[in-house]
Symmetry: C2
Subunit: 115 residues, 2 copies
């Protein structure tokens, strides 16, 4: 199992079904049955996807009678965005400036992002 928080989040996002579930949860809480409805997939499969998302902290789950509604936990995504932000300057600068930077860099001033 991967204990690394960032890895768990990226891995959770690396599946289109799970991303679709997140997208659906933007409209509000939803039960497992509701979440499963658009997919050609058994309920246990969806349940597993929800567990992956929950383990990654991307969603949380409630308890309402026999329902276990899932809800978006957006702060987890913020962590991912912050990691990405380190690289923004590499694509924000024009291609030419990037090339200049990459070739110039040979002597000192690396200051790359932390992994």
């Amino acid at each position: 199992m991967q204990t690394d928080d960032l890895s768990a989040k990226f891995a959770a996002l690396a599946d289109p079904t799970r991303r679709a579930i997140l997208s659906r949860l933007c409209e509000g809480e939803a039960s497992v049955n509701e979440l499963a409805e658009p997919f050609d997939m058994s309920l246990p499969a969806v349940s597993k996807h929800l567990k992956v998302l929950e383990m990654a902290g991307l969603i949380s789950r409630g308890r309402e009678a026999q329902w276990r509604p899932a809800r978006l936990e957006p702060m987890a995504l913020k962590g991912v965005a912050e990691w990405l932000e380190h690289y923004r300057r590499y694509w924000d600068s024009s291609f030419d400036r990037l090339d200049a930077y990459l070739t110039k860099i040979q002597k000192g001033d690396p200051r790359g992002p932390r992994n």
Copy 2:
């Protein structure tokens, strides 16, 4: 194999070794041996990681005599950032506002992000 572009990128990023390689490449091009040096891992393993990153479009590779230097391809990360950006408003708003939004949403105006 997963053909989905976004999935390939997230999957590539879901490994700490590969993220460390990307981080290293921020300091400029590097050969496979240079990239492998910090890791307790065989060269073919690193070569495989590079192939995953290349297939995801996150790096590109040159050809200089017997070296195959790898270089960061930051525009690929921009695509990931744009996907994430859809969710920014969910973590940018305060917790209370989010809760209000999620409960209010029951009637209309979903406008969630596209998967």
